[in-house]
Symmetry: D2
Subunit: 356 residues, 4 copies
């Protein structure tokens, strides 16, 4: 029979709440993890180190084997570090931004240990997904690791992160709309098989937040929804077995921008702009996206960045070559022309990007 049951891995610890940096120790204990190593990103130990370490040392059953300040994602440095952590470790805990989470996630993977993800900003869905972005031969490359065993998000911390991280997170969330569209587009063109359940989760993740009433994007209720949405996006990729439910043409444009721009912006910022652009090209829910990115202040923030429309034009042309095996809307010549045309004609894009 070809009817194997589809089993997926999901996080065992998942705590999203205010003021829970002090509870890290008890969360680990409750999940049956007793001996850990801690990785801090740059500057993170100063901010949260004391609280987290105290919460672990305060538990008689827990042992903090070693702590590291390390967020190097170049494989040539990461691998030796990874294979020299204490052999008694039962889990690897990473605290900080995208880089330390990727580094610690990969080190956990290399050692076949559970990874506990403690993001201090949630600018994309990396904290809740199985993938890692590493530097291989100096080039950013997406590699496979494992789903986090635990996700601990202190909303107090997230809320106080610079606004750009929140905007970046929101940009990454809306991208599910164009990404899922592209996935079905690929299926219609016999270039992929959509996993309907993964697609549904990805859509639910964005719909629940874009339809949500709020007064301020820093209010806790809104931020919790944002973190939950990013988490569901990570799970959708786990179910699909690839990044398609969460990453379509808009992500390709952002990856292309990373090559075009001398100083790329935060991943989710670039993705958010590209999502709006591609939704216009796809003629798919662009009003919803426009309203959400407008209301939340995302567009206003982008206008302060002095980004050039020209860079986006180049990125549009480059995008298909980033993943030549896929067939998203941007892989179609006509759509690229349309996108470049829109960069010049669409009122909002003209306002937030510089045309000179």
């Amino acid at each position: 029979m070809g009817t194997a049951i589809h089993r997926i891995e999901i996080p065992t610890i998942m705590e999203v709440n205010s003021g829970i940096m002090e509870n890290v120790g008890s969360l680990l204990e409750r999940a049956g993890i007793f001996k850990v190593v801690l990785f801090f990103g740059e500057g993170i130990r100063e901010l949260f180190g004391e609280k987290i370490i105290a919460s672990i040392k305060g538990k008689a059953s827990l042992t903090l084997l070693e702590t590291f300040d390390f967020d190097d994602i170049a494989v040539e440095n990461l691998i030796p570090r990874g294979f020299s952590i204490p052999s008694k470790a039962e889990a690897v805990v990473g605290v900080g931004g995208g880089k330390v989470l990727d580094a610690a996630k990969y080190i956990a993977f290399l050692n076949n240990l559970p990874f506990v993800s403690i993001p201090t900003s949630t600018s994309n869905d990396g904290f809740s997904s199985s993938g890692c972005s590493l530097l291989i031969g100096g080039k950013r490359t997406s590699v496979h690791a494992a789903m986090p065993f635990g996700i601990i998000v202190d909303l107090e911390v997230i809320k106080n992160a610079p606004a750009k991280f929140i905007y970046s997170g929101l940009g990454d969330i809306v991208s599910k709309i164009t990404a899922v569209y592209d996935w079905y587009f690929e299926e219609r063109n016999n270039a992929a098989k959509v996993d309907d359940f993964a697609a549904m989760l990805a859509k639910k993740s964005v719909n629940s937040i874009v339809r949500m009433p709020y007064t301020d994007i820093t209010e806790q209720f809104f931020q919790k929804e944002m973190v939950d949405s990013l988490t569901m996006s990570g799970i959708a990729m786990e179910i699909a077995g690839n990044s398609s439910p969460a990453s379509g043409s808009e992500h390709l444009i952002s990856h292309a921008l990373d090559r075009v721009l001398e100083k790329p912006q935060l991943h989710g910022i670039q993705v958010g702009i590209a999502t709006y652009l591609m939704s216009l090209v796809q003629q798919h829910r662009s009003e919803r996206i426009q309203k959400f990115l407008g209301d939340t202040g995302f567009f206003d923030y982008v206008s302060t960045l002095d980004l050039k429309a020209e860079a986006f034009e180049k990125a549009v042309d480059l995008a298909p070559s980033i993943k030549p095996n896929r067939f998203t809307s941007i892989h179609v010549e006509e759509n690229r022309s349309k996108a470049k045309e829109l960069l010049k004609s669409n009122a909002i894009l003209k306002k937030i990007l510089r045309n000179d």
Copy 2:
């Protein structure tokens, strides 16, 4: 180590679309299922039998071993039926309402075969969950089976189901709000351990639909969201390993009503009313629920049913004894008084239930 990975089973086939009764054969084939038995609920063969059977017979690789008109959920009848299906069967397909889906799901389980769920109405989350409601010793009892391997929902069919089924489905959806509240309530009282990920999914499932703009509850976009929400609810229970994320005090009241009323209403109808009641008791998101049940026409529908407030009062008193091991809001004496008081004083409840 106590850090076992949490693995869950999810459906492999999941198709929610219009006019797909004709695609059943190709969906089975794509999933590697070749020899099937079909179970139809009462009256279902006349409506959809021809189309589904033709779609299977039209595929050279498929064999339709046998078809049954059978939706008896009394174990004494179900078991012998279950153990006499053709031994070559590779999957059991059920088509129809709650009873045939429960019967076919259990027969699949007894034979260790995948179950493909084809609901013709979606009045609750039974079509997408691992549980079954059977008659054991003449009493409705929830028993464990397995997650459906496939879920195929034809929106054309759902849309044309009597309105009461849609209202029932909506009633079951909003119940996640009070159910998740009760689950955390139990945790605060050391009577349960919440699985945060399951709770999040349950919340997302309801939030994405209650916040959704729509003009008519029979429009396809809305109905798809409804089906997706009920499916996510089924998955949330699978993750939790129990029904807590989808079933709290409001479900206990509905189960109690089944005993109190001579002619119980559809499960989701009873649950929907009880959800509104309990949200007032919990003082938790009652406005949102009121708006949703009002706007969709749920309350208007309920007023046509001639239900007595008195029956609800009795059900409130009976509710805790339905599941004595749990500790939901309704297990607290004070809350039961408050609920009974609200049945007499709340304007909406007074309008939709008869007080005489």
Copy 3:
């Protein structure tokens, strides 16, 4: 990709040792099971009940919810019993022979609970396999349940079981030789696909014991090997997803004998004789089987049973119809003739079976 990982379930508790009835409580506790129900077969409570119950009650963390004397395998009695065990139960423990183990295993399965298997004789591999033999409509039928979560075998108990149980266990063990031969025979005839790993385990299970030096089949070393071999046979079926690695033409003859004989012998006794017969037909390792069944005293025991060769002749003719979907050596007309001929001509068969 069609390359799904093959995952199987294996027992968590597996203790085979002398005098361990007293350790049942601590074995459960160590495995994280705290609330149990106990099922005793007929006459078993008198023999071991006190010891086992004391071992559970002696542990402060354990609760013995209820004990039953129940070994009814007729589904019409088993199902109501199954659905009325205490809802707090975390595991079902069965103690005794084949019938109570089947009953308790099925009750555990119906309740989605782990099953702990404590055989008091090991006359076949039922104590370690996922299958059950139930009476459905009055007919012995093999149905699917789940792998035991725990297997606890007290060698002191096994050793003191009547000799016929040991002979039966040995008969079931050697049958893997003809069963695996038949499985590959089916594959050569395109009637099955062998799982090589399952076949290997089945072969290892029998080879390790038939090649073993011993002086007495009741010595502990030998008995442990026997229990281990039967356990591996159960696992081999779990891997294969069916009974083929452990059950071929020799089992079909035994099933046929159950219908032919007014008073069938123990399963493994019948199987052992049929294994010798079929190994002669297959011309496959018959000398090894003859030596093992001769040396252990199996043949001598059989000669005391007054079995008629005629019954075996009838069973040979009936055998293929027991599982018409399979294609073992006995499904070939020529082999049936050969088998019936051997029943008349083979010296050993003539000696152990009555020809009149």
Copy 4:
């Protein structure tokens, strides 16, 4: 509940037969693998490359994306190689000895792809286990990867491998006897928890071969048993989640010898000698081991190697420090003295090792 089901991964392809290098293509196809990359060890392409490549190219559904001659196990070289294989690859196939299998297994792991293991000699259980031996910082280090998805062993090839590889395989097999003894020894000393099922499999793996009659260790029947035994040893480690069922004090002595000797011998050769030594220390089945290693010609082969007893003495002293977290027989001072004494007094050891 703490009663999680214990699930393990087992190989999907497992073919051990004569002349099957020509069937590699069809075995891959049958398992649903269509696009592969091939890694050959040094000199292996010349011997078997043509046959394997033809078997893949001969299948219309298969694509051979790229072939590599690469068996570098230094991580600094392995990682860049690993991350540059074609992105369309659905599986990594390794052909050759221990080094290429380790390299290809790790590359498959890094890419989350199934690994197909085609050993050309079976000098240890590496071809069937999830572990890899890599050079990290120039030091041989055991790291975690994943169970092979497929194991294909051509007995024709194995048989023609130099005799030392066969002796090495046999040495690795008998080591399960002392390894399992040490595991239970650790449990008695509260230094480990034995998984009884893994221990049973490890014991069965060695018992079925040491008790086997044969006339020549190169005959196919014997070689198949050897391959099967090594495979079961790999599975036993997978079940245990660590190497304890397959590796005890005898392996520590061999690891120590790797440091002591300028030119270490094959792993299984060193392990076999150490197994005999430790069985004398443990007073556990040393006669069985002595008979097996004597009869197969293992001891005779060892006498040709000019190994010094002195090196073993040093290794005995060094052994405990190799894995300070374990507590095997060699971790006990008294046993080390006994072992060193035996190196001087035991007749066989005196004969096969040089004392000068």
